[in-house]
């Protein structure tokens, strides 16, 4: 088309005016409008047809059901919820559960995947082979199967709460999950959290200042050690100031179940394990590809100008490897988030599970499915927005 266009323009000297149906540019516009109209008609037809059919079957439409009482329970909730809450709140509970498992899953996957990817490149024969076998095996088994496997291990092999395994004081393993002691609530906790936040902010500004100083004077400070020290010490000092409270909330068996402490349900652990172990294999390959993409000469050059090994990694290898790693890594993070919807199969109340129940109890399938799509779209778009921002930050700055 482009060449046609050029030809026409070149022929502009010709006296005759080209009729519009022979002008590829105008013809293209007509086609575009035509396609757009067809699409509009199709969309209109599908929507109106759906509405007519819904009305004919007398199925209620709209989102007013969100304010009705849900009258079903949800096993795990981040925010307070009961059967007396609304469908809207039930869906929020589901969305938060999805967020919880995805966020924790992504963090652990990144750590495990990086370790595996680096191990695969290790010069140690055993380490690299173990990593290779892990990656190959985990990539090849469908994730749904892995979820069933981890879930079954939990309820088939662990004893009932009354015979729970108790390896150390305050930690129990049974077929109701992993139950462990947590520190009893104490006013000091919020101050410790505050100290941690202040520490992080302080470190951020300190690093900026240190970098500026190094740019100006060429003197380097032990930035890493000071940062870690600040982040750990500030909360520790706060804890000591408040008299070092160490009272623990220890779980106890009462009636059917444990009371107190914190419980991680078999469903949550199985889902998390399945997602992390599966996705980490893919992340490992991404990391390996990234590191291998940096040519050997880069490392040698960096070493020849007397950079320390950590500097070689941080200043030369990583900035280049990250550019290769980030785009496929984003898609693995999105995969993990989307795969978390398989939770339905093993009974973790994620967003899809709660939305399915809502659809079934209210009969509002179209609205429910639209909500599912919207929520996953929001999760995915915000993940990619963040990753794109980060990608832009680390990409090669051309001067």
């Amino acid at each position: 088309m482009v060449t046609d266009e050029n030809a026409i323009q070149a022929d502009a000297s010709l006296p005759e005016k080209v009729p519009f149906w022979l002008d590829p540019q105008k013809r293209a516009i007509v086609y575009q409008i035509g396609v757009l109209c067809m699409f509009g008609l199709l969309a209109y037809y599908l929507i109106s047809n759906t509405l007519i059919n819904l009305e004919k079957q007398a199925i209620a439409t709209g989102f007013s059901f969100l304010n009705k009482e849900s009258s079903f329970e949800i096993g795990e909730t981040v925010i307070p919820y009961s059967a007396a809450s609304t469908y809207g709140r039930a869906l929020v509970v589901g969305a938060l559960n999805t967020l919880k498992v995805s966020f924790i899953g992504i963090v652990i996957t990144l750590i495990l995947g990086t370790i595996l990817g680096v191990s695969r490149l290790s010069s140690n024969w055993l380490v690299s082979k173990i990593a290779a076998i892990y990656i190959e095996v985990m990539q090849d088994i469908p994730i749904l199967l892995q979820l069933f496997f981890w879930y079954a291990i939990f309820y088939e092999s662990l004893p009932s709460p009354r015979q729970a395994l108790n390896p150390v004081h305050g930690l129990f393993f049974c077929n109701r999950g992993v139950i462990f002691a947590v520190p009893e609530t104490h006013p000091a906790h919020q101050y410790i959290l505050l100290a941690l936040v202040i520490g992080c902010i302080g470190v951020y500004f300190f690093r900026r200042w240190a970098k500026k100083r190094q740019d100006a004077t060429g003197q380097a400070l032990p930035v890493f050690r000071i940062s870690i020290g600040t982040i750990i010490c500030l909360p520790l000092i706060t804890w000591l100031v408040f008299g070092a409270p160490i009272k623990m909330d220890v779980p106890e068996l009462t009636g059917f179940n444990f009371k107190g402490g914190m419980t991680l349900s078999p469903e949550f652990i199985a889902l998390l394990l399945g997602l992390v172990l599966y996705t980490a294999a893919f992340v490992a390959e991404v990391v390996r590809a990234g590191i291998q993409s940096v040519s050997k000469g880069q490392r040698e050059a960096a070493m020849s100008i007397a950079l320390k090994p950590t500097q070689v990694l941080n200043l030369v290898i990583l900035p280049q490897a990250l550019r290769v790693i980030l785009p496929p890594l984003t898609s693995q993070m999105l995969n993990l988030t989307k795969n978390s919807s398989l939770a339905v199969a093993i009974g973790f109340p994620d967003f899809v599970s709660v939305a399915n129940t809502t659809i079934n109890q209210t009969g509002q399938s179209i609205e429910g499915v639209a909500l599912i799509m919207a929520v996953y779209l929001i999760f995915s778009l915000s993940t990619s927005a963040f990753m794109n921002w980060y990608n832009k930050k680390v990409k090669l700055v051309e001067r």
Binding site: M38, G347, S353
Partner: protein, 338 residues
């Protein structure tokens, strides 16, 4: 231009196929040559394939009776196994013609879900199944229990109501597939399994150690289980409704699959009308006048399908109870065939 033509073709195809789908369910079923019935697929005695892959059960036989009524052949039906969550959308989206999947009739489902429930084919109630080892005697002692329950069921909501009304704390574990849920329960993931009594009996009968489990005495709900169709097709609703009633009516009249041929010679005008000896009833439904004869001859009356699938002599061993005829202390009662 080629692309444009293709688009037009696709567009027309969509419009035309949608147009065809607007015909009545009976015509659609006849044109297709078989009925599509949504069933559970995992409840022994109600709908489950046997070891040879043949579908068996009370709900399955109910669907077969419909095929017998429409086609005069009880095998012209395909079964679609659906989870509790899938079943209503599948019916609404016309993936199935009728849902025979131990579905409870409720106001919400009749109204805002746009469904019509035919005559009840099993009166049930919700109960609790629990391990004997826990030593629980009543559902009121279930404080703090973990309860396995199917999502998207009335059971799920009844359980929430029951625990709320009795001010008991509980933790639900909801798994969509019946088989996976039962596996989790019998492996000890939950203390209690809650569902309709008939289903609990069915699950217990196929569990590894049936003797280790007891049903708690409380029945916490009414569960009238009935075949369901979509709103807006009265003829199809009538056919489904009267198919169930024909089986009950046959039992009331003493007609069974064994004596139905002799009954054709009966002098009783009621029986003559019912079996199509004196014509009119079938035509009114848009079916052959032999429709009821075919149902009874090929599938059986209600008593027969009950005894065959869930009755006292089967593995389930469920007494007729509420499901006995009204003349025998139950509430099964068919409208007059006239």
């Amino acid at each position: 231009m080629k692309r444009f033509k293709l688009l037009v073709a696709v567009f027309l195809a969509v419009v035309l196929t949608a147009g065809i789908a607007l015909a009545g369910t009976l015509e659609e079923v006849r044109a297709r040559g078989h009925l599509i019935a949504g069933v559970n697929g995992g409840v022994f005695g109600f709908s489950m394939p046997d070891d040879k892959g043949v579908w068996k059960g009370l709900d399955v036989d109910t669907a077969r009776a419909m095929a017998a009524a429409v086609f005069g052949d009880p095998n012209k039906v395909k079964f679609s196994a659906l989870t509790a969550v899938q079943r209503l959308p599948a019916l609404q989206a016309k993936e199935i013609d009728v849902l025979c999947r131990n579905t409870t009739q409720t106001l919400t489902r009749e109204t805002i879900n746009g469904l019509n429930f035919a005559h009840v084919n099993y009166y049930d109630g919700q109960g609790f199944l629990i391990s004997k080892k826990l030593g629980i005697k009543s559902a009121k002692e279930l404080e703090g229990a973990t309860v396995c329950v199917l999502p998207g069921t009335t059971t799920e909501m009844n359980a929430a109501d029951f625990f709320r009304a009795n001010n008991l704390k509980w933790k639900p574990v909801v798994i969509e597939q019946t088989a996976e849920l039962n596996k989790a329960f019998f492996a000890g993931r939950c203390d209690v399994l809650t569902s309709d009594m008939s289903q609990l009996a069915a699950q217990r009968s196929v569990s590894p150690n049936p003797a280790e489990y007891v049903l708690l005495p409380e029945i916490i709900s009414k569960e009238p289980l009935a075949p369901v169709v979509r709103h807006g097709d009265d003829q199809w609703f009538d056919i489904v409704n009267f198919t169930v009633m024909a089986m009950i009516n046959a039992e009331e009249l003493g007609i069974t699959s064994k004596n139905v041929d002799d009954m054709l010679k009966s002098k009783n005008p009621e029986i003559q009308r019912f079996l199509g000896v004196s014509p009119g009833m079938g035509k009114a439904l848009g079916l052959d006048d032999k429709w009821a004869y075919n149902i009874i001859k090929m599938v059986g009356n209600y008593g027969e399908i009950y005894e065959r699938n869930v009755g006292p002599n089967t593995q389930l061993g469920l007494d007729r109870g509420l499901n006995a005829l009204w003349t025998e202390g139950g509430i099964m009662y068919a409208a007059p065939f006239r």
